[in-house]
């Protein structure tokens, strides 16, 4: 049982924190949002030169060979700084599909380009009727000789408009909801018969809806095994959720800090409002939510690479549930304690709040995760008890 970072991890954390502190300000964020840019190319190149884009990839492809813990450190820093970069889309989601599913020759071509920052990718998986159900894939991949024709709709492709390639899930057999029959394909963004609509999300990030009307791809574009992509998609989604948990902890800790600072400086009734007990207790409840969320983000980061799939899924569902709930609470209270100022776009408080709210929704909100968690079997419960027998005594 050890919660310490290794020397290497501490160095990674320090360098990412320092880099973002120095190179990305809240003013720059507001500028990017006004320009409708989804990201800052110089910042992305900076992250590449730090080696951060190579975190999850094996060292034989030039990666860092990092675990969930390294990803957690990077995501927490990105959250704290309110960065808009497509780290989740390119490195965690699409990169995760490649890392866990692609053939050696595909990895040799793709991974170095992700790591040096020259190629952006996006993951086109969710569909209009799927809500949060990962297994709901209706897009079809029809055989056309050796090739496939992709037909269907994808929605909420995060950072889709800046991507050079998409990783698209499609059904090579079976029906929507079937665990078997889903395959992943690499699709070029400029492919014929591929249309789309780009739009902003309320947190300032951007997404894309894709329309695939017979997009032709060759057999070399298949990632992983034919019909067998669902376990891979689930593993990648778990990585994404663990990463979002860490980002949310970064957001919450920064938001809590600015709120406590505000309580100390804002004067009303001739004293700092932080002297009022009602507000003090609220700030403590926010701290409790933050620390409980941090514990779960650590759990998620530690279990996301576990070979025990049931254990991994359960930890991730629980962590995402806690993060959603805590993020909502901390965000709402931060607005409330800032009063009218919390409502403005000018202050970073509302930006933290909106990103936390978006993170709750992504990959299933707290209510959804709770329902998922509740139907999972008990895993390795340490405290097994023999409960008293149920017996009736006749009177």
């Amino acid at each position: 049982m050890d919660f310490n970072l290794t020397e290497e991890q501490q160095m990674l954390k320090d360098s990412v924190d320092r880099f973002l502190d120095k190179n990305f300000t809240f003013e720059q964020r507001r500028q990017l949002l006004a320009d409708k840019q989804a990201m800052s190319p110089p910042l992305w190149q900076g992250l590449a030169s730090l080696g951060v884009l190579g975190i999850p990839f094996q060292d034989e492809y030039g990666g860092f060979g990092g675990s969930g813990v390294e990803t957690m450190l990077v995501m927490e820093a990105l959250g704290r700084s309110l960065a808009l970069e497509p780290y989740l889309a390119t490195v965690i989601l699409a990169g995760g599909c490649i890392d866990l599913g692609a053939a050696d020759w595909q990895k040799k071509i793709l991974i170095p380009k992700i790591i040096d920052g020259s190629m952006l990718l996006a993951f086109a998986h969710s569909e209009p009727d799927a809500r949060f159900d990962l297994g709901h894939v209706g897009t079809r991949a029809l055989r056309d000789g050796n090739n496939f024709l992709l037909e269907g709709s994808k929605n909420l492709v995060l950072h889709g408009a800046v991507a050079e390639k998409f990783i698209v899930s499609a059904r090579t057999s079976g029906n929507p909801g079937d665990a078997h029959g889903v395959t992943l394909f690499i699709v070029e963004a400029d492919e014929e018969n591929l249309g789309g609509q780009e739009y902003p999300l309320f947190d300032g990030t951007r997404a894309l809806d894709l329309q695939l009307d017979g997009v032709k791809v060759g057999p070399e574009s298949v990632i992983g095994t034919l019909d067998g992509a669902m376990p891979l998609i689930e593993a990648v989604a778990d990585r994404a959720m663990a990463a979002l948990c860490a980002e949310a902890v970064g957001l919450m800790s920064a938001l809590h800090a600015v709120t406590v600072e505000y309580l100390k400086t804002r004067q009303q009734f001739g004293q700092p409002i932080g002297r009022f007990q009602a507000l003090q207790h609220r700030a403590v409840d926010m701290l409790m939510a933050l620390e409980q969320a941090r514990s779960m983000a650590i759990l998620a980061a530690s279990r996301v690479d576990s070979t025990n799939v049931a254990e991994r899924r359960k930890a991730i569902a629980a962590a995402k549930e806690m993060i959603g709930r805590a993020g909502r609470y901390v965000g709402q209270q931060a607005i409330q304690l800032h009063g009218g100022m919390g409502m403005t776009d000018e202050l970073n408080v509302s930006h933290y709040f909106k990103r936390l709210t978006a993170i709750d929704i992504l990959f299933g909100n707290a209510a959804y995760q709770r329902a998922r968690f509740a139907t999972m079997k008990d895993e390795d419960v340490t405290a097994k008890v023999t409960a008293p027998r149920k017996s009736w005594v006749k009177i």
Binding site: D2, Q280, A283, V284, E291, M296, A318, P388
Partner: protein, 398 residues
Amino acid sequence: MDLNFSPEEAAFRQEVREFLRVKLPGDISRKVLEHRRLVKDDYVRWQKILFEQGWIATGWPVEHGGTGWSPIQRYIFEEESAAAGAPRLTPFGLHMVGPVIIAFGSEAQKKQYLPRILSSEDWWCQGYSEPGSGSDLASLKTRAERQGDHYIVNGQKTWNTHGQWADMCFCLVRTSTGGKKQEGISFLLIDMHSPGITVRPIITLDGEHEVNEVWFENVKVPVQNLIGEEGRGWSYAKFLLSHERTGIAGVGNSKRELQLLKHIASQEQAGGRALIEDPLFRDRIAQVEIDLMALEITCLRVAAADRDGKAPGPEASILKIKGTEIQQELTELMMEAVGPYALPHLPMAWGDHWIGAKVGPEYAAPLAARYLNYRKTSIYGGSNEIQRNIIAQMVLGL
């Protein structure tokens, strides 16, 4: 970062589990697991078994008879003990006054009291709260006046747990009224068999006798029973409260109670199916289970920092509040799980010698009383509101 227990820690867990399997008396664990009433002898019997094993004082230094275990080992021990249905150790000697005597007591006091705490020869109780001094503890009025070689103690203490069984009481008393109210407080060890002490039961809302009023009328206490210096009692009391951080969260007990809650919810029928399959009830179980998972990691973070000799972070301060909120939620869900069978109230059926009829499933009988009783957890040990005041001040700097 590694959230797995090391092979040594896993081996330790096996050793503890095996010990509990062999040595924990079945009649005692049955009472704990079935939420029945424990008597003094149940606690003492179990503590003497732990004493013989050398495992009674898990937080004490080895030279005073402690185990010298790391905080993680203590966590494992508490978790396994709870799972097996071992009674909670009575904290007043082992976790409260013991560490104070070790830190601030004289050699004579250490020699006189520590061995008797370890062997459970003395049952200790706490004399802190007074009718007029609850959250504002430093306003306490019980007086101790020096007369030659003795203090003469007069006053009234309340919420004194198990004082009816106690041999000794550690008391906060006022030895001076000048200056700041904290500065006139001293820490006295009082023999409960002294003339002039009256213990009167307070019956709580569940019908039980757990706490007492204690009256002191010209009670003679030898001056050698003063801990440390006169007037420094408040700082010793604060030391006492800061001790045993992780135990206060009660994670092991809550994990056991969660399993029992699931068992009950799987037995109870609601709308033609097991209650545990009802989406609304299942949702509430899931939420408390996730809260508990998070608290367990939080607790382990605190224990690991303690082991590594680091100062406790802000996470240490939330354990009491979060731990008691979860305990209360579990008792509430268990009571709800049995529906109308929470209503019958048969306190005699939870005792040792009841052979009469029972009403409803056996597990249902004590659940409402437990729910009622557990409202105390957010009040005792510094109410959760006082805890929030402390965190706001000490951690957030407000």
